[in-house]
Each structure stands twice: as structure tokens, then as C-alpha cells.
């Protein structure tokens, strides 16, 4: 695989619906064979961006390149893309076979070639027994598989997924997620995948682009996004339950807040410790040690348990430390009751510090 070649390039893309700016000066470069996930809450412009790449929406300004070709004005079918939709969008009156071959017939592909490609796609997706059925006679998971097959038969470079698993139940979603990842490893195509589900994003992506208000807030690998969120928005968006945040003021390596004076010696500042600034300290629930383990942590706090949520594998507890609420992730076997005292502690190396005003990482 040629890592240098870029598969999809988006340059200074703007899209306005009247006065509403859905996408603003967006730049994105996606490498050949890369799995990019566009992640964001609803209305952030991620699906709009995907529709622009597919050519289903006219852009207001900027360019889109696919496979080195400027396709800004090209028809969707001429862009070398295949698309999978949330609602499957199978043609209800055609059989599975008809659905798979519709695009190829439109492209005037010879009959035997169509048959060959449909057979191959059906084999890859294990839908051979379903070929003669109508979509109405398929289950949700089977329908989505056919929808993926429709992109597959077209032999395209770039796959676009628009929240393909959102209509499925939890079990099926996990199964199909694995299948999509497997498919990506087998085919090696470029894939752009829109979702609002951070688990899908974390598990599937080579890189994640977190979007908000038509802009990319951070574009990085899943581990980078989890471990070093660029700003408050990303920090709060990724992780479940969300990161604990404490408002305070930072002076050199001293963080003063309702929790008291905390030394953040050991935190890897992006630039260098600022002189004095209002700041936000973040710590993920899973990075807080509790009980005996808390004693070994550089930062220690006393807290009282307020609420316990047993999940089986883990137990989540909301604790109160000097009036500040914290979510803590505990072992699933922990037996805690509201009102219990629980010492907690954490390592400055695992915390996140953000400038209060700019919301950027310090």
C-alpha cells in the first residue's frame, strides 16, 4: 500500500444553507487505505461533510479531491465512491441481487461481469442464500450487509458509511462492527465512517476527526484523542462516563481549587507551565485510584460515596471530595454503599489541564 498517496483531500471546504454555515473552511487529508471516523454530536456537520464527499450536496466553496482527481463538480457515480446509509436505503421492489447489480447495470457493465462481482460480494458478506429475497424479508443486520455489498460490487476506492449501525440493536451492532473492521483489513480500501458512537469510533478508526459546529476540533489517532485531548470539548466528548472536571487557577505547577492546593509536578505541559491562569483540571474516572491504592498516589483526597452504579464488570461511584463531585471507576466486585468514606488519589501524569478562557490544552 502506498502510504504517501492521499485518497481523499478536502481543501477549504465551505457549505452554507442560507445564512447557516454548516461547514467552515474545512481541511482534511485522508491517506490511501485509511479508516477515518467523523465523530460528533448531532448537528455538527459530519453527515453533511460525508454528503459533500459523495457529491450529494453542492459545496459553497472549496475543493474535494478523490484519488488525486478534483471531483468537486463530478456526479456521485463518477467519484469512485460507494456509500452505505443508516436506513440501509435498499430498493424495496428489487431482490437482493437486483439491489447489488443496479449500479453496475447503470454503468453498463457486461452481464457476466455483473454476475461475477455480485457473486464475489455475496461471498465476502455471506449473503449468498439471500440473493433472491426482497429487502422486506431480511433482518436489520442482513439488510445492512446487503447495503455494504452494494458499495462493494462497485469496486470503488473509497467507502462512505453514514451511521451504518445506528438502526441495529446493541448485539448486532457489536457483531457488524467487527465485520466492518475485518472487511477493511481484507479490502484495504479507504473508508470514511460517520458516527456519534464513540465506541465505534475508538474501535474502528485509524484516525478520528472530532467535529463541532462545522469544524474539526481534533484529528488524531484514537489513543492520542483519548490520552491527549486537544481541548475541553474533545476531553468531555470522549470517555464514558465523562472526564471529571475541576475549575481552579494554575500558577506554575500549583493548582488551587476547592479541592485545596494540588501540585501538578509530573504533568507534561504542551508548551511549558504558564505563569498564572484560570484553568480546568480533568481526570478520567478510570484513572482515579481508590481505597488502599490511593495511598500510593501523589495526589490524595478524602471523599464520601454518594451514588453507586454497578455495571457487572465495573462499578461506577459518584463521590464527593470537598464539595466537588467525582465519578470513579471501581472494580466490579467492590461493595460500596452511599455514605461510605473512600480515599481517592491520582497521578499528575494522568491528568489533563486546559486553559479556562481558550479551552485549549495547557
Amino acid at each position: 500500500m502506498n502510504a504517501q498517496m492521499n485518497s481523499v483531500e478536502i481543501k477549504n471546504l465551505d457549505l452554507h444553507f442560507g445564512a447557516v454555515k454548516v461547514l467552515q473552511d474545512l481541511n482534511l487529508t485522508i491517506g490511501q487505505g485509511e479508516f477515518l471516523v467523523l465523530l460528533g454530536s448531532s448537528g455538527c456537520g459530519k453527515s453533511t461533510l460525508l454528503n459533500c464527499i459523495a457529491g450529494l450536496l453542492d459545496v459553497t466553496a472549496g475543493q474535494i479531491h478523490i484519488g488525486g482527481k478534483n471531483v468537486t463538480w463530478a456526479e456521485p457515480s463518477d467519484r469512485g465512491i460507494g456509500m452505505v446509509f443508516q436506513s440501509y436505503a435498499l430498493y424495496p421492489q428489487m431482490t437482493v441481487e437486483g439491489n447489488l447489480s443496479f449500479g453496475l447495470k447503470n454503468a453498463k457493465v457486461p452481464k457476466d461481469e455483473i454476475a461475477k462481482r455480485v457473486a464475489r460480494a455475496a461471498e465476502v458478506l455471506q449473503i449468498e442464500p439471500l440473493l433472491k429475497r426482497k429487502p422486506a424479508a431480511l433482518s436489520g443486520g442482513q439488510r445492512q450487509r446487503v447495503a455494504i455489498g452494494r458499495a462493494l460490487v462497485r469496486d470503488v476506492d473509497v467507502f462512505l458509511f453514514d451511521e451504518p449501525l445506528s438502526n441495529l440493536d446493541a448485539k448486532l451492532r457489536a457483531d457488524l462492527r467487527v465485520e466492518i473492521k475485518q472487511l477493511h483489513q481484507t479490502l484495504g480500501n479507504t473508508m470514511i465512517y460517520v458516527t456519534h458512537d464513540q465506541i465505534e469510533a475508538m474501535t474502528l478508526a485509524d484516525r478520528i476527526a472530532i467535529m463541532k459546529g462545522g469544524r474539526v476540533m481534533q484529528l488524531d489517532s484514537p489513543s492520542e484523542i483519548y490520552n491527549r485531548p486537544r481541548n475541553l470539548y474533545v476531553a468531555e466528548f470522549i470517555g464514558s462516563p465523562t472526564m471529571n472536571m475541576v475549575d481552579g487557577a494554575l500558577a506554575a505547577t500549583q493548582f488551587s481549587s476547592p479541592l485545596g492546593e494540588i501540585s501538578v509536578e509530573g504533568y507534561a505541559f504542551d508548551g511549558g507551565a504558564p505563569d498564572a491562569t484560570p484553568a480546568v483540571l480533568g481526570i478520567r474516572p478510570e484513572h482515579i485510584a481508590s481505597g488502599a491504592a490511593a495511598a500510593q498516589m501523589p495526589i490524595r483526597l478524602d471523599s464520601t460515596v454518594e451514588l453507586v452504579e454497578p455495571l457487572g464488570s465495573d462499578t461506577l461511584a459518584r463521590v464527593n471530595a470537598n464539595g466537588a463531585p467525582f465519578w470513579v471507576r471501581l472494580d466490579g466486585q467492590a461493595t460500596l454503599r452511599p455514605g461510605d468514606a473512600l480515599p481517592i488519589g491520582f497521578d499528575p501524569a494522568r491528568i489533563h489541564l486546559f486553559d479556562k478562557a481558550s479551552e485549549e490544552r495547557l
Binding site: 450529494l56 460507494g82 446509509f85 436505503a89 430498493y91 447503470n106
Partner: protein
């Protein structure tokens, strides 16, 4: 008491409902009266059309016929006189058929493409175009009668069947376009997008994707148009000439003729004959229509 319910006390299973509760009596009573109110005139018409004139003169309009005769029906269909023609309603029937069929086909064909384009291909000025079209639905017909006479005359179509077909097609356009636009808008947009990604063009998407999913709305449009055009009197009398009068106009001429005896039985039979086509359409397609809507044919 069986073994399962033996150890249960108090209310169990479905709650018993009284058949003759006050609510039921009121609901069914009112429904029955309203049905009777609408059915009574129909009954009188059918009964009268099967009587001979001497029996009608006796004045018992609600009484069933003593001696059933189909003479009035035959006379209404093939012998009743309008003006100089004495070939009954049959002439008007065939005129109406020749007017209705092309009008229905042309108007539905154009309006469905209009609605599809307005719903899926958001071309520049689509909203303005749609607003103007809808506005057309609210302009009184009377305003347009005379201008249309002049336009048809200039086209050389005034007084011909095709002139009337054009008029019906034009006047069906606003409401039918609205109907189709709303229906196509209700179809999932992703289906249209998927077809575009699959490389289908305007007509391919219309014929291969949209049409097969739209049977219910075509049936609705057909019912609307067939009954509307069949029942039309105003355009028929204005834009055609006596030879080409549709059935409704001819019915009027038979019933309202001033010379001679009023043949109530023939008039009733003629009226029933004229109303038969919309009636049949309702009975035949009504079921299909309801089934199409209920089946939710949209869901893939």
C-alpha cells in the same frame, strides 16, 4: 372453575364489556340515522327507476315497485331525446369516456413527474414554482373561463374533445402536483441518494425506484381525477359542442327538458347511469387504496 384460576380471587382475565352500554347505543344510533339519511334518496331513485309511469302517478314514492320494469333504463340509455338527438345517454357516456381517459393519464403523468422533480431535485426556484402552482389551486375557475376559450380558439381546439382534455389536465395540475410532491417527500431521502450514488439519472430514478413504490398515491390520484372529470359539468358545457357533450351535460338536458311529460322513472335511471362510473371506481379501487396505505409500502 379450572385448575389455573382456582386459586385466584377477584377480577381476572379480560374485563367484561357490556354490549348495550349507553355509549354504544348513542354511537350506533347516530351512525344508523346518518346512514339512513344518505341512503333514502338512493333508495327512492332505484325504486322509482324500476316503476312504470302509471304507478309513479299514484304518488307512493317510498313503496317498492309492484311491477318491476327495466323499460326506463333502456329508454334513458338509448332512446331519450336531447335536442335533435334521440339516442339517449349512450352518446354522452362514450364522450365522457373519451374525455376522461386521456385527461386522467395526461394529468397524472405530468403531475407525478412534477412532484418528483419538486421533491427530489431541488432545482433553483423550485419553491417559487411550487408556490405559484399552489396559488393556482385557489383561483376561482370563473376567472379563467373566457381567457381559455380564446386560447383554445387560437389553437384551433375550441369545441373539440382534445381541447377539453387539455383544460382538464391543466386544472388538475396544482392539486395533483401537491399530492405527488408530498408523497415523494415522504419517501426516505436516502433511497434517492443511494440511487444517485449508483449512477441512476433523473428518469431512471423515476421509473425504476420511485414509480414501483408509488402505487397507492397513483390510485388516489386516479380516483380524484376520474371522479372529478367524470362529474364535471362546467368545462364540458363551455368547451365542447352538443355532439361532444359529456354525460353530465346530456343528463341535465334530458332531465331539464321542458316539453312533454316529466318521465321521472327515465330521469332517475339516467341519473343512476351517470353516477355509476365514479361509484364503480370507488368500489373497485377503494379497497386497493386502503390496502396500499395500510401496508406501508414505503418500508423496505
Amino acid at each position: 372453575m379450572d385448575a389455573v384460576s382456582a386459586h385466584l380471587d377477584g377480577p381476572q382475565g379480560p374485563k367484561p364489556r357490556k354490549r348495550f352500554s349507553r355509549n354504544n347505543i348513542i354511537i350506533y344510533g347516530i351512525l344508523g340515522m346518518v346512514a339512513l339519511y344518505y341512503l333514502l334518496p338512493l333508495y327512492v331513485m332505484v325504486v322509482t327507476s324500476l316503476k312504470g309511469m302509471p304507478e309513479i302517478r299514484m304518488g307512493n314514492i317510498f313503496a317498492p315497485p309492484v311491477e318491476i320494469t327495466f323499460e326506463p333504463w333502456v329508454k334513458a340509455w338509448s332512446e331519450a331525446c336531447t335536442g335533435l338527438n334521440c339516442d339517449g345517454l349512450s352518446r354522452g357516456f362514450w364522450n365522457s369516456v373519451q374525455i376522461t381517459i386521456p385527461s386522467v393519464i395526461v394529468s397524472i403523468a405530468i403531475a407525478s413527474v412534477n412532484g418528483y422533480a419538486l421533491a427530489n431535485w431541488r432545482f433553483k426556484g423550485a419553491d417559487v414554482f411550487f408556490a405559484i402552482l399552489i396559488f393556482g389551486a385557489f383561483i376561482p375557475y370563473q376567472v379563467m373561463l373566457y381567457p381559455l376559450v380564446i386560447m383554445l380558439r387560437e389553437l384551433g381546439l375550441y369545441g373539440s374533445l382534445w381541447g377539453l382534455v387539455i383544460v382538464h389536465s391543466i386544472f388538475g395540475m396544482p392539486i395533483l402536483t401537491l399530492l405527488f410532491r408530498n408523497y415523494f417527500t415522504s419517501l426516505p431521502e436516502e433511497l434517492f441518494k443511494a440511487a444517485r450514488v449508483d449512477g441512476a439519472g433523473f428518469w431512471q430514478i423515476y421509473f425504476q425506484i420511485m414509480l414501483p413504490m408509488s402505487l397507492p398515491i397513483f390510485v388516489v390520484a386516479m380516483i380524484l381525477q376520474v371522479t372529478g372529470i367524470w362529474n364535471d359539468f362546467l368545462f364540458g358545457v363551455i368547451y365542447t359542442k352538443p355532439d361532444l357533450y359529456p354525460m353530465t351535460v346530456q343528463l341535465n338536458n334530458i332531465v331539464n327538458s321542458v316539453q312533454g311529460v316529466k318521465e321521472y322513472n327515465v330521469n332517475m335511471a339516467a341519473t343512476l347511469l351517470t353516477g355509476l362510473v365514479p361509484l364503480v371506481i370507488y368500489f373497485v379501487s377503494g379497497k386497493l387504496f386502503v390496502r396500499g396505505i395500510a401496508a406501508g409500502a414505503v418500508k423496505g
